[in-house]
């Protein structure tokens, strides 16, 4: 079934009788060519591109709960490619390009909205660092603008630029950045993958890997053993827990990241704004809620919830930056579970176990990577070679000394 405005009108006039399930609820087959563990955005995107681009026909996605129940369903929906380092920037720009055609590729409106992101500048040193970053973006084909204070004030007049502890002196803007509807991304990929024959199996928890002679044969699950020639693990947040079942220790800690949404408001904030002197970033959803977040809680956690100090820290930043939000109310907060890696950058790589592949370590930034992570992980699973944009995302970069450390804080995950 193809979605379109015409179809919506037709169904509206005929009592919505013609809508069909967006995806099936198949029972697992005994074996697949490729099994993806994790039905989040990344896992579903991987399956989608495996089927669509790499011609893989016999693929299953196994999801412990309901698809999109992890970080894909609880993030602040920002998409951007404003990275500095050569290991990162081309990958995120590739992802940005995939976002730009996502809806046509999946025939599903994921509400990709390129309303721009602005990272605020408060010191001369910050401006120099952002100039370096903006230039790196331009040099890898992305868009970037360095905004003067006056340009910024014209664009976002409600920012507290002057009566501030850390006055705002400008910003680095990526006009093509923006947001996408997180659930819509999950559902678009799921529906697209299902239409192409991928089995999406919900409520199917992987409880172990069957590994013999250094080669993976399949996975043990709550629905029994499922054989696989290749297994791709894409369970960010739970990477440590899942990969430990294959006997692997990872350069990752699991941390809690909270996010917040306010009650619905008439249009207030045009794009995404990131404070440069505190932990706060914000956008406004199409429904009107201010969607915002800040720093991770900072201690190892699998509890999927956070604590009050971070809530206060985030709102202190918010009020300092835009004191006009004060009389809006917090509607909901939630805690996600993120893989914080030792250099703040991701891993897409084979493991030492034949047939077992890993995609994870996305820290707090996995959502924007969804299309490219899916595409490049599919590329790796299908061809056994890393896609050209992920050649730096290898396990061995740590021991060899080629970390991709955007913040320059070293091997302390909670500082990234």
């Amino acid at each position: 079934m193809k979605f379109s405005g015409f179809k919506v009108v037709k169904e509206a006039l005929t009592g919505h009788k013609g809508w069909r399930p967006l995806w099936r609820n198949p029972d697992p087959k005994p074996a697949y060519d490729i099994v993806i563990v994790g039905g989040g955005g990344h896992g579903l995107a991987t399956a989608f591109y495996l089927a669509k681009t790499f011609g893989a026909l016999n693929v299953a996605v196994l999801e412990k709960g309901w698809i999109g129940s992890g970080n894909a369903g609880r993030n602040t929906t920002i998409i951007r490619s404003n990275y500095l380092l050569p290991g990162n920037q081309p990958f995120y720009e590739f992802s940005m390009k995939l976002w730009e055609t996502l809806e046509q590729d999946t025939n599903f409106n994921s509400m990709v909205s390129q309303r721009g992101i602005i990272n605020l500048i408060h010191t001369d040193g910050q401006r120099d660092a952002y100039r370096r970053r903006g230039n790196a973006m331009r040099l890898s084909g992305a868009d970037a603008r360095l905004l003067s204070r006056d340009e910024l004030k014209k664009m976002v007049p409600f920012l507290n630029c002057d009566n501030a502890r850390f006055p705002i002196k400008g910003g680095l803007m990526q006009p093509r950045a923006g947001t996408a509807r997180h659930d819509g991304v999950v559902w678009g990929y799921a529906r697209g993958a299902d239409m192409r024959g991928v089995d999406i199996i919900q409520n199917c928890e992987v409880t172990g890997f069957r590994i013999e002679d250094g080669r993976v044969l399949g996975v043990e699950t709550s629905k029994g053993f499922i054989g696989a020639k290749k297994v791709g693990v894409s369970v960010a947040g739970s990477s440590g827990r899942v990969m430990s079942m294959a006997g692997m220790r990872l350069p990752i800690e699991s941390h809690a990241l909270q996010a917040f949404v306010s009650e619905g408001l008439k249009p207030t904030i045009p794009g995404v704004i990131t404070f440069g002197a505190g932990h706060f970033y914000v956008s406004q959803s199409d429904k009107g809620g201010l969607v915002f977040g800040g720093d991770i809680d900072g201690y190892n956690s699998y509890a999927q919830r956070g604590n009050l100090p971070v809530v206060e820290d985030v709102l202190e930043g918010g009020m300092a930056l835009m004191p006009m939000i004060g009389r809006a109310r917090l509607l909901r907060s939630w805690g996600g579970l993120v893989d914080m890696s030792m250099d703040g950058s991701p891993i897409i790589d084979k493991t030492d176990i034949d047939g077992l592949y890993f995609n994870g370590a996305w820290c707090y930034g996995g959502f924007k990577a969804t299309p490219a992570a899916g595409y490049t992980f599919a590329h790796l699973l299908a061809t056994d070679r890393p896609h050209e944009t992920v050649t730096a995302f290898r396990f061995d970069r740590f021991n060899r000394g080629y970390v991709i450390d955007e913040k320059g804080v070293g091997a302390q995950p909670n500082l990234h």
Binding site: G240, R249, I252, Y299, N300, Y302, N307
Partner: protein, 92 residues
């Protein structure tokens, strides 16, 4: 959270700075033949358990002691806390 400081009793976790797995106390022997590999493992790899975790907290806005806190990462329940220097001293 409240951290049960072995000397000071329950203290607001806001007074503390979190560092990471308590294994970071056990720096490898720099003279050992495979020192570089051992250091790579020490610096980069973590057990990252979903469950009981021994971890380092620094009482930065307190008595400036480093603590080894035993905490369940799935519930945040704290099972105990010791002074890191005692832990190290006992092991040596």
């Amino acid at each position: 959270m409240l951290i049960p400081h072995p000397l000071l009793g329950l203290r607001d976790s806001q007074e503390f700075t979190y560092f990471g797995d308590a294994s970071l106390m056990w720096r490898p022997d720099p003279e050992a033949p495979e020192a570089e590999a051992a250091f790579c493992e020490y610096v980069f790899l973590r057990d990252n358990p979903a469950g009981v975790h021994r971890e380092l907290w620094f009482h930065e806005q307190g008595d400036r002691s480093w603590l080894v806190v035993t905490r369940d990462t799935t519930t945040h329940e704290i099972l105990g806390a010791e002074l890191a220097s005692d832990v190290k001293g006992a092991a040596q």
